[in-house]
Structures are given as structure tokens and as C-alpha cells.
Assembly symmetry: C2
Homo-oligomer: 111 residues x 2
């Protein structure tokens, strides 16, 4: 459960890392939020995905209030160590709006 050096380097710089949660059952991208070192450590130690809330300035275990938890199945990190991809089992809605995914609104794209 060691944090990879590339990701640890970001935390050492004081950078938050983007964490993308993907539904392990169907590949749907559910949300993107932020992690600091404590959030990632806690996620890896407990298996319950925990983010860093930039607005509340505190750790935020997903589903703590709502019951809409994310169970961590697997995790990977990108080539420059500033983004994580989490495969999760999502209980209920990932979005606080009640939508399954936070990405529920389309931008019009011209063919």
C-alpha cells in the first residue's frame, strides 16, 4: 500500500492529485475529485474512497452522510503522477444531485 514515488512527489510539492472514479461494473466515469496524501493513504488502508474537499478543507469519505459509498477495487496512476484512476463499486448515486454520474450534462458537439 505504498504510494508510488511519482505521486508522492506531487504531494511533496503541495499539489493535490486528481482522482477519477470509474464504475468497475460498466466503465462509466462517475466523478472527479481531489486527493492529498492523507486521502490516498486512508483510501488504500480502508478500501473506502476518501477525497480531500477543497471547499471544506477536510477529508471527505465518499458516502459518509449519504450512504453512497465507493469501494475501491483497483487503482492506477498516470505517467506524470498527477492523476489517479480508481475502479470502484459505487453504491447509489455518485453525484450529490442524485444522478449516477456527475457528468450528466452534455456539451453540444457539431459533427
Amino acid at each position: 500500500m505504498d504510494i508510488p514515488v511519482e505521486v508522492a512527489a506531487r504531494f511533496s510539492e503541495g499539489t493535490l492529485v486528481a482522482a477519477i472514479a470509474q464504475d468497475v461494473t460498466n466503465g462509466e466515469v462517475l466523478m472527479m475529485a481531489w486527493m492529498n496524501e492523507d486521502a490516498l493513504q486512508q483510501t488504500l488502508a480502508t478500501g473506502n474512497v476518501t477525497y480531500w474537499s477543497r471547499s471544506r478543507n477536510q477529508l471527505w469519505t465518499k458516502g459518509e452522510g449519504s450512504g453512497h459509498t465507493q469501494k475501491l477495487i483497483s487503482a492506477s496512476y498516470d505517467c506524470d503522477g498527477d492523476a489517479l484512476l480508481l475502479q470502484v463499486e459505487q453504491t447509489g448515486a455518485a453525484c450529490h444531485t442524485g444522478e449516477r454520474s456527475c457528468f450528466f450534462r452534455e456539451i453540444e458537439v457539431t459533427e
Copy 2:
């Protein structure tokens, strides 16, 4: 091809927006990079995904040098307007390392 107000508000604050590219053919998350308003406008206008390079401080049309382009198929934005999810047709590798996805390294997760 208007930029949604929630996303435009982020650009007005001077915030870059995270853009997650997902392979439209199989749901694989390929990479995460950043967009400013010009990058998003250019992406929507041309259909060729264009990011903002924070290291080079300039627009960066994916595949410009390598030929590993991303054709935009559809786009959505998240509930707080600070992240975009792009469905793309990826030519070749998304990652500069030659890997298909930038998320090619796993973090050990204890069951």
C-alpha cells in the same frame, strides 16, 4: 458550441478545467489533461481535442507531432463545472510513453 455557463464561470475565475479523455470504443480512460477557454473552444470548433499545456504555457493539439490524435465524439461536464469528460476516437497511443492509456501503472490495493 456554446460553453456551458458553469464551465465558463471556472474560466472567468482563471481556473483550468480538468479534461478526461475516454475511448469511445471500449470505455478505457486514456488520460487527463487541462483546458482553458481557448482549448475548449478550439476542440469544439475543430473536433480535434486540444489541451492547455501548463508546462509549455500554450495550446497543445493532441497528436500534432505524434499523429496520435483524438477526435471528439461527445463531451459532458460535471456538476460543479470543473471537469469535462470527452468521448474520443484515439489514433495510436494516448500516452507519450507509447502506452495506450496514461494510467498504465497500478497501485497495490489490499483486498
